[in-house]
Assembly symmetry: C2
Homo-oligomer: 141 residues x 2
């Protein structure tokens, strides 16, 4: 096992930067959010406001759960409900300078975490894939 | 960084065993598969046959993509199409005895991998969460 330069890495050094991250807006109707999620293929994406501030995440599962009625999926409700009403507001975020190894703890239970600077601006996301890829480099088989 | 007993771990030692894994059958209609995926909350689950042999995986995204028409999601088609027609048949699997570190390479691009024995029987899944949790134990901050 090679010595771990992992110890010097930060969230910023491994993150997918914001311009490459699919996202939706707080006040978008669920219909729009579901289309973005299906077209991009992602299970969940960040929710931002007009000023690029991070507010939480929205998933296909949250949307589908919301419209699942007793006998069918009530698709007509998608245009009546906004992202803000269904999204998960309570997700952890990290600063760009956060230590890679502290991020690892969050990624145990979250497929990705938002990287948000001190002013609340959204800088990008740190994904499990990026961390696993980095780990794999340091532990050669 | 502690010495890595990771080197002795196998897929079997870290997997979620089959009785705890939500799954669908090859010949189920998509309607049934979508309900299992929404009720369980999982993005994708394994597809098995009557003899508990592994055939691939099915995701919410594959189902929603299939029924996405020009103007709306054509939900009425869910009862006409089977899992077999939409699932991903070409996913990697590992043997229960497979080395943990070789599984790591697969998990870079797959959120989980199926653990399948030499006879093709489904034993369980190895998830990114289990691997990250194990890694975190060995690299203390
Ligand atoms: N278009 C694509 N091309 C190549 N591989 C793809 C892919 N879509 C998904 N994957 C693979 O599947 C994993 C799970 O994706 P999922 O959409 O469930 O979960 C994703 C998604 O919810 C979010 N995510 C990743 N990249 C994103 C982006 N550019 N924009 C918005 N959200 C993103 O972060 C989660 C974890 O991502 P991670 O990369 O660790 O892990 C990804 C990646 O390994
Ligand atoms: N009910 C729940 N309770 C607690 N945490 C939950 C959860 N559902 C999801 N998560 C968390 O979200 C991650 C992504 O779940 P996802 O459903 O996209 O992606 C999942 C899902 O597609 C599949 N999976 C995991 N456990 C499963 C099970 N018991 N049956 C069937 N599929 C499972 O493996 C993927 C990776 O799982 P992993 O555990 O690494 O990562 C999970 C886990 O950290």
């Amino acid at each position: 096992v090679k010595a771990m330069p992992l110890l010097q890495l930060t969230a910023e050094s491994l993150m997918v930067s914001s311009e490459k991250v699919a996202h939706v807006q707080l006040n978008n109707p669920l219909e729009h959010a579901l289309l973005i999620l299906v077209k991009s293929g992602y299970s969940s994406v960040p929710v931002l406001d007009m000023n690029y501030q991070f507010h939480g995440i929205i998933s296909k599962n949250a949307i589908l759960n919301e419209i699942l009625g007793l006998e069918r999926f009530e698709m007509e409700r998608l245009s009546e409900i906004t992202v803000n009403e269904v999204m998960d507001h309570k997700v952890p975020t990290v600063l760009p300078s956060e230590h890679f190894l502290r991020c690892l703890k969050y990624l145990i239970d979250h497929p990705y975490i938002a990287v948000v600077n001190k002013n609340g601006d959204f800088d990008g996301i740190l994904t499990r894939r990026a961390v696993l890829k980095e780990m794999n480099k340091y532990i050669h088989v």
